[in-house]
């Protein structure tokens, strides 16, 4: 569905060249649900804008839904759906009118565009809001309208840029329910960005992490967490001296009487570890295990945290 080779975008800002995206090779198969993660300024949006034909690549190629973004952007546009970070409906227009217009933009005859608009209003529980201006809708309702606008032409591939940002937890859950139902029903390929890492962890089959314009990790959330971060074991010992000793022996970090260790499978490793420590006379007073998060993966790869990034409003 998506194939890129050496996809690169260079910007010139005040006579300085900035390489926003540096030679990305990417293959996404039909039906996949891919979460594209990375800090602000990592090249996420630039990549997305190139894949959706909003921005021509400086070099490299990208074939999206079977068409080349540079030589046949119209072919790409007619096959992909796009839900941007900002709101898709114009402020002056009624919800249903925008849906009809969108259908017309994709070349649907007037009658079909109207029928499709009604279908989508029902599908996304927007029917009572058909004659409202976007400004009068709640955040969650607006986002559902954005989603509806991206689905008018039944695309096989849908790009979602921060679909749940700025929504309250209930609306977030609601929009995900709609997105996942869509995927289940139509087998739509989804390529999305989010800065809620736990969301990506929950729903994505594949996670791509981009940093400094390069993809630095690619795999299922499980793979990434196991291979790159590992589980965390937190032990409390009776003395600080013991804690330091355990930390040195097991390649961990000590903080007071607390030791933090990284292991592949904490549930299996913990009993063994406790036995060993007991044998060497270390008294462990408390033990805890935790599964890693995608933030731990990013931290392990870059030494920085993804969540400390300033989050766009």
């Amino acid at each position: 569905m998506i194939h890129t080779r050496g996809l690169t975008r260079v910007f010139t800002v005040k006579k300085e060249t900035v390489e926003a995206v540096r030679g990305i090779d990417l293959d996404v198969a039909a039906g996949q649900l891919v979460a594209f993660l990375g800090p602000n300024g990592a090249g996420k949006s630039t990549t997305l804008r190139m894949l959706t034909t909003l921005l021509p690549p400086t070099s490299g190629t990208a074939t999206v839904a079977g068409h080349d973004v540079a030589t046949d952007p119209a072919g790409v546009r007619s096959r992909i759906g796009y839900v941007g970070q900002r709101h898709s409906a114009g402020e002056d227009f009624l919800a249903r009118d925008e849906l009809v217009t969108q259908g017309r933009c994709y070349g649907l005859p007037a009658k079909e565009a109207a029928a499709r608009a009604d279908e989508l209003l029902d599908l996304l529980d927007l029917r009572p809001l058909a004659k409202r201006k976007p400004g009068t809708l709640s955040g969650g309702q607006r986002r559902r309208l954005d989603l509806a606008l991206g689905l008018v032409h039944r695309p096989d591939l849908l790009f979602l840029d921060e679909p749940s940002t700025g929504l309250d937890p209930k609306s977030r859950a609601d929009i995900w329910e709609h997105i996942l139902r869509l995927r289940e029903t139509y087998g739509t390929t989804l390529f999305l960005t989010t800065h809620y890492l736990e969301e990506a962890d929950d729903i994505a089959e594949r996670v791509l992490i981009i940093d400094n314009g390069t993809i630095i990790a690619d795999g299922t959330p499980e793979q990434l967490k196991n291979d790159l971060a590992g589980d965390r074991i937190t032990l409390t010992t009776s003395t600080e001296e013991e804690a330091r000793r355990v930390a040195v022996l097991n390649d961990g970090t000590a903080d007071g009487a607390t030791v933090r260790l990284r292991v592949a499978h904490a549930a299996a490793a913990l009993p063994e570890l406790l036995r060993t420590l007991d044998g060497s006379g270390v008294k462990v007073t408390a033990a805890e295990t935790a599964r890693p998060t995608l933030d731990d993966v990013f931290l392990a790869l870059t030494g920085r945290s993804l969540t400390n990034d300033d989050i766009p409003a």
Binding site: R77, R86, Q102, R104
Partner: protein, 247 residues
């Protein structure tokens, strides 16, 4: 075919809110109407029949402010996400520009007809051929100005400040130095010299000749040339800006 269909799509999208709230048309006309009645009454006698002299000027003034507001609506859509959403569809880029301009021109024509209708009972003499030719010239001029304001909007996104600064700092000098409100004939030489490099001056002069029914006046030729030049330059730049990709 797709081009015409896409133009119609954009036009009908833009036009529907106008139909829903037709009084918005009148509100936009508030300022030109005020100018018309205030200056028209003040200048009565000073420039011959003031209505004959003033109505074409007011029409040119609306032609300058109307297309500017077309650029403003584009800017709002660029700052919001609705323009981006449409750019990801196969909609023809040039059709976007043309559809938006067409809507602005229909509004302009409706306003022009209203102004003329209001001025007739006050003593405005109607020269049908001249009025029709005058309106046609206004549309050409308006299309060009609209295209310029679209380019300005595209260059100003996503901040938008540039749009306000440029449109505000250009609009008033263009207006004042074109003789729309006060005749330039009695102005000092330096002011007339500035007026002569202002393309709007030629359009205003041509409009006055046309609305007076003086259809052989050479000013019409200059005015038409000025309007066509503005239109050609605006459309060329607008088209290029649209195709280059926005934001």
């Amino acid at each position: 075919m797709t081009f015409l269909r896409d133009t119609a799509t954009v036009f009908s999208r833009e036009f529907r809110p106008q139909l829903r709230e037709p009084y918005g048309l009148l509100f936009e006309m508030g300022q030109p109407l005020l100018f018309l009645f205030l200056f028209g009454s003040l200048l009565d006698g000073a420039v011959g029949s003031s209505w004959q002299w003033f109505v074409p000027g007011i029409l040119v003034m609306m032609c300058l402010t109307g297309p500017m507001s077309a650029g403003y609506t584009l800017l709002v859509e660029l700052i919001g996400g609705s323009m981006e959403r449409m750019l990801v569809t196969p909609l023809n880029r040039t059709a976007m520009l043309v559809g938006k301009s067409a809507k602005a021109m229909i509004v302009l024509l409706a306003q022009a007809v209203l102004i003329i209708a209001l001025a007739v009972p006050l003593g405005f003499e109607l020269h049908a051929a001249g009025v029709l030719a005058g309106l046609a010239q206004l549309v050409v001029f308006g299309v060009g100005l609209g295209a310029f304001s679209f380019v300005l909007a595209i260059k100003s996104a996503p901040g938008g400040t540039l749009f306000y600064v440029v449109s505000q700092s250009i609009l008033f000098p263009l207006l004042l130095l074109s003789g729309v409100l006060l005749p330039l004939e009695t102005a000092p030489a330096w002011l007339r010299a500035i007026g002569q490099v202002n393309p709007v001056t030629y359009v205003v002069d041509a409009q006055r000749s046309l609305f007076a029914g003086d259809l052989t006046n050479p000013s019409i030729l200059y005015g038409t040339a000025s309007a066509c030049l503005i239109a050609a330059a605006g459309l060329h730049l607008g088209n290029r800006a649209m195709r280059k990709g926005v934001g």
